[in-house]
């Protein structure tokens, strides 16, 4: 629908940042307090991806507060300008334009979904503003020759590559796909399908579901009738919950593996209950076992802060993207030595830091001369068993 009423999520940051700024006034020199470096945050806070977008934004706020508590970057505080793209590609592009032209943010983070990010990308080229991509997994994002894109989430081909050694051990013989009908889902089906075929696994049906669809019974009835042993699903948490419930209701008994890292498994356990038993999920963060993460101290800090702010634990698997994203942007601004778009874009290539799911360092991807940056994060397979979540060791 076409109306613009700010949600609670959007009203919050101004309030919180204002109070932090007020606090800072007492500690830092007043001259710096009013002068901030703005970071645009383009996320879905309403619509089908609202849960995920809200988690990412809350993670981003933790990073911003952490950076500011240490004195900010280049002697200035960073300020997040959060906008809602309504889970809609057209809105995502409009939000990017607004952030660049009206808020004059020299760098942005966004836009959660692949279709949303792809819609924003022409704006990056038009205004020459770099964007850190924290969640999207469509291959096209880093292969289409947009030098303003720097991605810390795994493209689905990388997810597939890291899942490849597990295929045989799990005993996957024939796979059906059920994917969200957009760049993310179709890209995942294509990349995983290719990897599986190379491994000699038969690929059966590829069924799609609309991003806002709530009833997948027709697709599941079809999938129920096939002889595939495994169903691979690509969707965000709310839709996954519905799929699992509907699978249980229809007696669809297949091994389930989900991709994309937006599963928030604790939310699935809470909302789908027994229907989520024995499902497996490819994810990029292990908040259930901080000791096993690449930077346990940072994970502990992040999880403690997440809890202190009263956010549900379930959100941690997505919110870390926002946290890592803003820390990466802050590092790039610091390295750039100025808050100019061009300098930040250049600095992204030079930074190196340890994110919550592994080292963040951008490698060149896409056509020569116009490469995008792609970092290579860790991918883990987890399973829900007896309502508990643990990493699958094979």
């Amino acid at each position: 629908m076409i109306f613009r009423i700010p949600s609670m999520e959007m009203a919050m940051p101004t309030f919180r940042i204002a109070s932090i700024a007020a606090l800072a006034l007492g500690l830092a020199a007043p001259a710096f307090a009013a002068d901030t470096i703005k970071i645009g945050v383009n996320q879905p806070l309403t619509g089908p991806f609202a849960a995920s977008g809200a988690y990412v934004v809350n993670g981003a706020k933790i990073a911003a507060d952490e950076v500011n508590a240490r004195g900010g970057v280049l002697g200035k505080k960073i300020e997040l300008v959060v906008e809602d793209n309504k889970s809609n590609p057209t809105e995502a592009a409009a939000v990017a334009e607004k952030l660049i032209t009206s808020d004059e943010t020299p760098v942005m983070m966004g836009a959660w979904g692949s279709s949303l990010t792809l819609a924003v990308m022409p704006k990056l080229e038009e205004y020459e503003v770099p964007m850190l991509v924290e969640t999207s997994s469509s291959g096209k994002i880093t292969t289409s020759g947009n030098p303003f894109v720097f991605r810390i989430s795994p493209p689905s081909a990388l997810e597939a590559e890291m899942f490849a050694p597990m295929v045989e051990k799990i005993g996957v013989k024939k796979v059906d796909f059920l994917v969200i009908n957009n760049d993310w889902g179709r890209g995942a089906a294509a990349d995983f399908g290719k990897m599986l075929k190379d491994k000699g696994v038969t690929v059966g049906l590829t069924e799609t579901m609309d991003a806002s669809a709530q009833d997948m019974s027709a697709q599941l009835a079809k999938i129920k009738g096939t002889d595939a042993d495994t169903l691979m699903i690509t969707a965000a948490v709310d839709q996954l919950t519905l799929v699992f419930k509907q699978m249980a209701a229809m007696g669809v008994k297949k091994r389930v593996i989900t991709t994309g890292g937006s599963q928030n498994p604790d939310q699935i356990v809470a909302q789908a209950g027994a229907a989520a038993e024995k499902t497996m999920h490819l994810t990029t963060f292990l908040p259930w076992d901080p000791a096993k993460t690449p930077d346990p101290k940072a994970t502990d800090y992040f999880l403690a802060e997440w809890k202190k702010r009263g956010y549900p634990f379930a959100g941690a698997t997505e919110s870390f993207r926002g946290y890592d994203g803003v820390r990466t942007i802050a590092a790039a601004i610091e390295k750039a030595g100025s808050a100019e778009s061009k300098a930040i874009q250049k600095a992204f290539w030079e930074i190196e830091l340890t994110g919550l799911n592994g080292p963040i360092k951008f490698a060149k991807s896409g056509p020569a001369g116009k490469e995008s940056g792609q970092s290579k994060p860790g991918v883990y397979l987890i399973q829900i068993a007896d309502g508990q979540i643990s990493e699958v060791k094979l």
Partner: protein, 340 residues
Amino acid sequence: MGVAPEEARTVKALYADPRLDVLNHPHPSPLPTRGGEFPTRSIPSLKAALVDQFLQHLVNAMVLGGAYALLGIGLTLIFGIMNVVNFTHGALYTFGAYAMYIASVSLGLNFFLALPVAIVAGLALGALIEILLLRPLRGADIDTTMLVMIGAGIILQSSTLWTFGGVAKAIPNPFPDAPIAFLGVSISWIRLFVLVAAAALIVGAYAMINGTRLGRAMRATFQDADTAALMGVNVKVIYTATFALGSSLAAAAGALLGPVYVVFPQMGDLAAVKAFAIVILGGLGSIAGATIGGFVLALAEEFGAGYISSGYRDAMGFLIIIAVLLAKPTGLFARAERVG
């Protein structure tokens, strides 16, 4: 879960963490699937699979059709009697689902008590909208009414967003998780309940319209409001009652489907589009048409997605509508246009 007891024992003896039993299993055969069956099960005969799949699609469509019919009846009733295109219909559907959420989750009411509470809340909100917005606009031009209703729909949706946030909520239901299975077809208890409750509400609405004094007054107003008024029908009250009844049916659909799916502020958008499709399909103002239209749309979506392409699921209904409108522009069950 599902793993044969002796197998599970062996695994537990071998491995410290029983949660990972299935995955740490050194057995050379493939891992059990979610239901505990081994994936190397014999492939069912093609014919059986086709019959099962067909029946499953049919059962799915019937359940969905019940809720669609409720949505359609509510909208067509308001249009038929009041000549108002109700753009708050989707918002009322969402409202019903959130009322159900508040009643059963926030207030902790019993599920079966929360449902009538949500329906009555929808009734009350409908009456309020009619008294506050539509009554002063009686006689105003149709464009004005339409714009006011669009505005009201936006206000309702934004208030929901403001109050509950954009993140979806789940409503637990008291039914067992395990589905009922017969003839290779499975249906969950909650969906069966939705079908039965929707059917009861549809029958109730018919009985009310055809068998009560209020219903007779509604039908009289439907035929000719001025004549009905001359015959002593309080048309103002009838309008309020009609709008409230239509709203309560939309809220009932939301309250019934909320626990089946998840509840979020924009859930009404697609529902409203479908309600309009059903009403156009069945013929504007025809209650029987809306009932059948609801089931036709559900069948089209279900079989279209099952046998043609799931990507076009939501488009199937509209393709049918285009076909119907080309063949019979007044819809399947439109009453003859009254002249003069």
